[in-house]
């Protein structure tokens, strides 16, 4: 069973990479007003029960994949 975890920096201040890309694009005159860069994590789980699996991925996302001080996360199932 496959899950996806999206992790985004909480504040603009924390998104150095996003800001750097944004500045670069604006300097090059692209009509881009904002760029934010986060992570996309694909997790393949060996577990039949979808609810249990999702619970585990959410747990991992909260404890390991993201740091709540600086990031937010969302977990998606394969269908969503």
């Amino acid at each position: 069973m496959k899950f996806f975890v999206q992790v985004m920096p909480r504040e603009v201040l924390l998104d150095s990479e996003g800001r750097a890309v944004q500045e670069l694009l604006q300097e090059k005159k692209f009509p881009v007003t904002s760029v934010r860069v986060g992570k996309w994590i694909e997790v393949q789980v060996d577990q039949d029960n979808e609810a249990t699996a999702k619970k585990m991925v959410e747990d991992l996302a909260q404890k390991i994949f993201s740091n709540p001080l600086i990031e937010t996360f969302k977990v998606f199932g394969d269908k969503t």
Partner: protein, 215 residues
């Protein structure tokens, strides 16, 4: 009869300042012992545990994030509960924040680059760890990191400031650290960590000996 201070040095996969720190501890006349990341240790064993610098787990995901999940860090939490001391250096600082033993987080330098520089840090608040370090004094130490920019949400930062948890400030901010913070304490003043490397400034030929005061 005073016994020699027992110092544990944790090695994670990817730690690369482990030997440097170990030798430094021995040179300063203390007893050094390795702690392997997969092992637990007793909360009676060490007076001080040091988390050296490096790239534990390759700095993947976020620096320190994966190491914070280790057995050794589980034991470290009990060690801290017993009031025993911890010093984190560079990646060790990052791990301590990820393990929630210290407030805040370390994010990518403003330059988005790894930086190897000499910096001067000023001591703001002292405590029982690294007790030889003197308040208001300046120390010349090298930094070498890509994720050394201290960050904490506004409330947390205020708490850190108000409860004298700021340990060291950069004289000249090299990486965009909030409030020029180079090192902090936990609220109980038993755990401290800094981004610069005192072990790399502990002999005459290294370019500075100011790091000696940190043991």
């Amino acid at each position: 009869m005073s016994r020699k201070t027992q110092v544990g040095v944790i090695r994670f996969p990817g730690t690369n300042c482990d030997q440097d720190v170990f030798s430094w501890v021995q040179r300063e006349g203390l007893n050094a012992k390795w702690i392997w990341h997969r092992d637990s240790f007793s909360d009676q064993e060490f007076d001080l545990v040091i988390l050296p610098g490096g790239f534990s787990y390759g700095d993947y995901l976020r620096s320190g994030a994966l190491a914070a999940q280790s057995k050794a860090v589980e034991s470290l939490i009990s060690h801290v509960k017993k009031g025993r001391h911890v010093l984190g250096i560079c990646n060790g600082f990052q791990i301590l924040c990820e393990a929630k033993l210290l407030p805040g987080a370390l994010v990518t330098n403003q330059s988005l680059r790894f930086q190897d520089d000499w910096v001067d840090v000023r001591v703001e608040n002292t405590g029982p760890v690294c007790a030889k370090v003197e308040k208001s004094q300046k120390y010349k130490l090298p930094i070498a990191h890509k994720m050394g920019r201290f960050f904490a949400p506004a409330d947390d930062l205020k708490k850190i400031q108000d409860s004298d948890q700021v340990w060291l400030r950069y004289e000249k901010n090299p990486n965009g650290s909030l409030d020029n913070i180079a090192g902090i304490w936990n609220a109980e003043k038993t755990v401290c960590a800094l981004m610069p490397h005192p072990e790399r400034a502990s002999l005459e030929w290294m370019g500075s000996q100011d790091g000696k005061a940190f043991l």
